[in-house]
Point group: C2
C-alpha cells in the first residue's frame, strides 16, 4: 500500500461535496511524519461528553492492534476522541503494537481530557512495521487546541493511503421534527473485500441515539453497502467503521432514541443506509487502478445468500475484471464465474446481460445479441453485469471495479 503518485481515478466525483458541521464534533489534522512527507497523516476528533458509539470491524483472524483496542473500548459504548493515522497500519506488530495503541490512547486522552477507554483508534498503511506512537505526543494536544467543526475535506484527506481522492458524504434529516446531521468520511482503495476492507470509515451525527440502537442500525446498514464491496477479494487486517452520535441535537429538542425499531428513526435510518451506500460506492470508484465502476447483479438464485456468493464470485474473478478493463463483452467468463461459485446453477437456465443487452439466454448466446451493441456498451465507465440464475428469487448486488495494469503497477511496487 505504498503511497505512490498516481493520477486521480477517472471515476471520482467532479468535486468534493459541501459537508456541514456536526454539532458536538470538532477535529483537526496534523503531520506526524509517520511515513509520508509533506502531507497530513493524523486526524484527531473530539466529541462532546455523552457521545455514544457503534462499530463494525474486519473479520480477519489477524486483526491489527487498533482493531483489538476498539473492540474492547466498544464495550463501554461511550466515546470522546478518535485518532486516525495513515501510513502505518500497526498490524502484525505484536506486543509493540499493543503498547503503541495504548500509548496513543493515553496521549489522546490527556489531550482531550477523557479516559483512554473513551479514545477510538484506527491505523492504515503498511503492515508489520512498528508504529512509533511517541510521534503523536507532539501533535495531538495541538490538534485539540486547534480543533474546529470543519472543513471535512481535511479530515478525509488525512486518512488517505493509496486513495486518489478524498471521500465524504452527508445527510440532513429530522428526528421528532428536529433536524439532525449525519456526516461520513471514508478511505480505502485496495485490499478491499467483504466483509470490510483496508477500509476506514467514520460517521458522525448529532442525533441523540443510544449505543445499542446505533449498533443495530450500523450492522444492518453495512450489509448491502460495505459488505457488498470488493476490489480484489483481499480483506484487510484493519477494517474499521465507527458511528458516533454526540446527542447534541437533544439540546435543540431532538428526542433521545433507545431502540433501532423506534418509528421516529425511520427517516434517519434510511438516510444512514443511503450514506453508507454512497461511501461504499466512492471506495469502489477509487479501487486501485480502476477505470470502470462495476455493479454485479444476481437474480433468480435459490436464496439471497446464494445470490450474494455468486455475485462475489463474478466480482472477484480476475478474468471478468480484466475483460471489463479491456471493454470486451466476454460473457463466457461470467458463465465461468457463476459455475465456479459452488452454488446451485443450471447452464440451461442461465441468462447474462451487460447493461440492458442480454448476451446469453437458456444455455447459449442470445440469438438477438449484436456484438457491436455490446462493444459500445462496454465503453461506459459504469458497467452493470447481470446474471439471472433462473432457479428462484434470491437477489444480490455487489460493487467492484475493473482490474487494470495500473492495479498491478500500484501493488507490484516494481523496485528493480
Amino acid at each position: 500500500m505504498a503511497g505512490k503518485d498516481v493520477p486521480v481515478s477517472p471515476l471520482a466525483p467532479k468535486s468534493f461535496p459541501e459537508v456541514p458541521p456536526v454539532e458536538g464534533v470538532r477535529f483537526a489534522t496534523a503531520e506526524a511524519g509517520i511515513r509520508y512527507r509533506g502531507r497530513t497523516d493524523v486526524l484527531m476528533a473530539v466529541m462532546d461528553k455523552g457521545t455514544n458509539v457503534a462499530g463494525v470491524f474486519t473479520k480477519s483472524k489477524c486483526p491489527s492492534a487498533p482493531v483489538d483496542w476498539c473492540r474492547a473500548a466498544m464495550k463501554g459504548g461511550k466515546a470522546r476522541a478518535l485518532v486516525v493515522n495513515s501510513g502505518n497500519a500497526n498490524a502484525f506488530t505484536g506486543k509493540t503494537g499493543k503498547a503503541a495503541v495504548k500509548m496513543t490512547a493515553e496521549i489522546a486522552a490527556k489531550a482531550a481530557g477523557c479516559k483512554p477507554g473513551e479514545v477510538f483508534i484506527a491505523s492504515t498503511g503498511v503492515i508489520g512495521e512498528p508504529l512509533d506512537a511517541s510521534k503523536f505526543e507532539r501533535v495531538l494536544a495541538d490538534c485539540v487546541s486547534r480543533a474546529g467543526d470543519g472543513p471535512w475535506l481535511d479530515a478525509a484527506r488525512a486518512i488517505m493511503t493509496t486513495d486518489t481522492f478524498p471521500k465524504a458524504a452527508s445527510r440532513v434529516v429530522k428526528i421528532g421534527g428536529i433536524e439532525v446531521t449525519i456526516v461520513g468520511v471514508a478511505k480505502g482503495a485496495g485490499m478491499i473485500a467483504p466483509d470490510m476492507a483496508t477500509m476506514l470509515s467514520f460517521i458522525f451525527t448529532d442525533a441523540p441515539i443510544k449505543a445499542p440502537a446505533l449498533q443495530a442500525m450500523l450492522a444492518s446498514g453495512v450489509k448491502p453497502s460495505f459488505n457488498c464491496l470488493t476490489i480484489d477479494g483481499d480483506t484487510s487486517t484493519s477494517d474499521t467503521l465507527l458511528l458516533f452520535a454526540t446527542g447534541a441535537a437533544g439540546k435543540r429538542g431532538a428526542p433521545t432514541i433507545a431502540t433501532a425499531g423506534d418509528r421516529r428513526l425511520k427517516e434517519f435510518r434510511a438516510a444512514l443506509d443511503d450514506l453508507l451506500l454512497e461511501l461504499a460506492q466512492l471506495v469502489a470508484r477509487d479501487g486501485e487502478g480502476a477505470r470502470k465502476f462495476v455493479e454485479v447483479r444476481v437474480k433468480g438464485a435459490t436464496t439471497a445468500k446464494s445470490a450474494h456468493r455468486i455475485a462475489l464470485s463474478i466480482a472477484n474473478s480476475p478474468l471478468v475484471k480484466t475483460t471489463i478493463a479491456g471493454e470486451d463483452a466476454n460473457w463466457g467468463r461470467v458463465v465461468m464465474a457463476v459455475g465456479k461459485a459452488g452454488e446451485p446453477a443450471e447452464r440451461d437456465r442461465l441468462a447474462i446481460s451487460f447493461g440492458d443487452i442480454r448476451v446469453a439466454h437458456k444455455g447459449q448466446r442470445d440469438p438477438s445479441y449484436r456484438e457491436d451493441e455490446a462493444a459500445a456498451y462496454m465503453k461506459n465507465d459504469h458497467i452493470v453485469v447481470t446474471a439471472d440464475i433462473g432457479l428462484g428469487k434470491g437477489e444480490a448486488r455487489v460493487f467492484t471495479c475493473d482490474l487494470t495494469k495500473a492495479y498491478v503497477e500500484i501493488n507490484g511496487d516494481y523496485r528493480s
Copy 2:
C-alpha cells in the same frame, strides 16, 4: 483466452523432453480451422481395443458439452479414441453444443472403427461460441490414416491455447518385472484453479490396469498436484484429465491389475503421482504473464484441510501475487491472506518465511530479518512462501505464479 502472440514463459523448461511411444496408442494432429490459422488445432488419438479409461473433471456447475459427454462415456470404462480441439471450448452452447459433441463422436467413431460411446472429447478455447463440428469431417479420418506413435510434441502443441510452450512428461517403470510406459501431455495457462482448470491433460499408459483401479489412482494423484494448482482462482467450465491404459504391455507379460491396492502397482503409482505433479507444475510455470513460479507452503494449521484453504487464500491473493511480481518481500500481505482465509489462526503464533528467510515470527517482524537479504531472495524465479500457523500439524502445498501486467494485458484484450 484469445490466442495472442506472447513470448515464451521465462519459467519454461529449456527444451521439450524426450518422450517415448506408448504401445497401443497412435495419434495425429491436424488444422481443422476452428479458430486459429496456420497452426494445428485438433489432436486425434486412437487406442487399442480393450483400453480402459479413468477421468476427473471440472467441478463447475456450468460444465462444457464435452465434459458432460465424457462423464457419460466414462460409465462404460472403455475408450478407443480421443478428440481434442483448441480454439473453441464448446461451453455454454446449449443444445447446439450437445449436438456438436455428438456429431464429433460419430465422425471419430466412424474414422476409428469404434462406437461413439468409446470416443472421448475435450475442447478448449472461447466459451459461448457454437462449435462447427462438421469441420472435423474433413480431418479425423485422415488423422486416423496418418496416426503414428509420435512425436508427442505435435500432440502437446495442438491442444495449446494461450500456453506459451508445449507440456509433456513421461515415466518408465515396471509392473510384475515388465517395463511399462506412462506419457502425459497437458495444456493450461489461465482460468486455472482448483479443482482443475481450463486445464486439459491426457495420460496414456500401456500397463494393463482395469478402470476402477485407474480411477482410484487418478483421484488420489490429482489431490496434491492438479488440485493444488491455481493461477487466478478462476475455475474453467472445461477441465478434463483423462487416463487411458491400453493394456498392450500385457502381450509382453505384464500382469493385469484389478485394484489400486495391488502391491505390484507400487512403483507405477509413485511414477503416476510424480508425473501428475510435474505436469501441474508445468502449467503453473506457464500461468498467463507469469515471471515467477510460486510455491505456497502452509504448516502448523489445525488440519490438512485448513492448511489447504489457507494456502489457497495466499496463492489467490492479488496483493500477494503482485508483491511477488514486484520482487518485494511485503510479508504483511501474507498475514492479510492468512487472516482472511477464515481458518483458525492466531496472530501471535504466526511465522512467515520467504525461502529460508524467516521474516515474521510470533506476531511481529523477526528481529533477525534483514530486508536486503529478503530483497535478494525475491529476485529468484522460484519463490517459496511459507506460513507456519503454529497451532497444529496440518500441512499443505499449493502452486501458483505471480500476477503481472502481462496477465492483465493477455486477458484484457484491449481492443480500443
